[in-house]
Amino acid sequence: MKGMLHINGSQLHIFLRGDERLLDTLRDLGFTEVKEGCREGACGSCLILLDGILVNSCQVLAASAVGREITTVKGLGTYHQPHPIQEAFVETGAVQCGFCTPGMVLATFALLKNHPRPTEEQIRHALDGNLCRCTGYIKIIEAVKLAAERMAQDA
């Protein structure tokens, strides 16, 4: 089927197979910041925002995303103009191998949109779909707290 995908503000007309997962579509289109991990919706490496809602792109059939707004981590900030969440992750040492980081950053973004001053319990609940095999999560939680503080100040 033909369809238009809105990705990070750009519009792309593409052909899709009816059984194609959004993760594969995005990576084939060059959005390799969307990482392929478990393909089971368990690890959070492939997280994106679909109409602003955090979802596992490996658990979304691409055809159901036609006409909807897709945001990957590159839609939040760039190398030269990073998002405060991305800065907080770097500053607190919440990035080691970096494979889980795009998903962590997007999960943090989705959390802070609804809860600008989250409790530690809310942070843990919001990031329960993200696995990290390096950091042990302590630094990641610190990064979320720092980002929340900075974003609240900016607001």
Partner: protein, 280 residues
Amino acid sequence: VVDAVADVEWYFPNELADVPDILSREGVIPHSGGTGILWGNMTRIRGLMDVSHLDLKSFRKKDDEIVLGAALSYSEAAEALVKPDHPLVQSLKSAATEPLRNRISLGGSISMFPYWSDLMGPLLALDARLSLVGGAKGECSLTDYIEIRKLRQNTLITSIHWSDTPWQCSYYRHTRTPTDRPAFSLTVLLQKTSKRVETARLVVVGCKGRYRKLTEVEQILQGAELPQDPSSLLDKATERLELEIPARMGFSAEYLKACVIIELRRALEAALESNTGRVS
């Protein structure tokens, strides 16, 4: 499996009136969140009917009934219900993970009903009813929907509703880690006066036959006077329990049954002793 199948056709109806015709086509099933479809075997699927353009995300209170649109995700439904102690909210918030809770829909979850379902225990205990269109239309009880195959064929669930009665309640899921699928889940709903238990509804999901309403225990509890020490009542209630749970996730069948009894006692003890327990 998904990558090996022939192409799947998609349908995007805007009106409920178009649904029966689409679902009558061979191999066409409804698609809401799609997570269950991706977990299953897609080789028999010829078409998917996306329900996102239908008005199936509503939440309303009608008289003393709560009505939830079947396309609501777990997160949306939990947010709409507001009450944090409602058994359904407890189950929806503890199921899967945040991004999956944002995607899994109520209707899809009911139609798939895996043994690890967090949703079904509370809905069965609440005696939920479903509105349907397609192969079957009108209303039916959730129990009938599960038991009668014909009600599920070529059918779309449009809403889920139940009576908004206050309950003393608890929800327990048995897992190794919080994001595990539960080996079993237990829902306990109780209504009592200062003197006796009025109504009890107890449901285990994950046992043989996927779920069981523990009517033998409910019968002992209903009408029972509230004792100073509930131990003897709980002994009597749990002695009667007839339940088979298959061994799974590294747990033996005997161990899981013992866990059900322990958790059932804990839940009932809290509900019987507390005047300030969870009331939703």
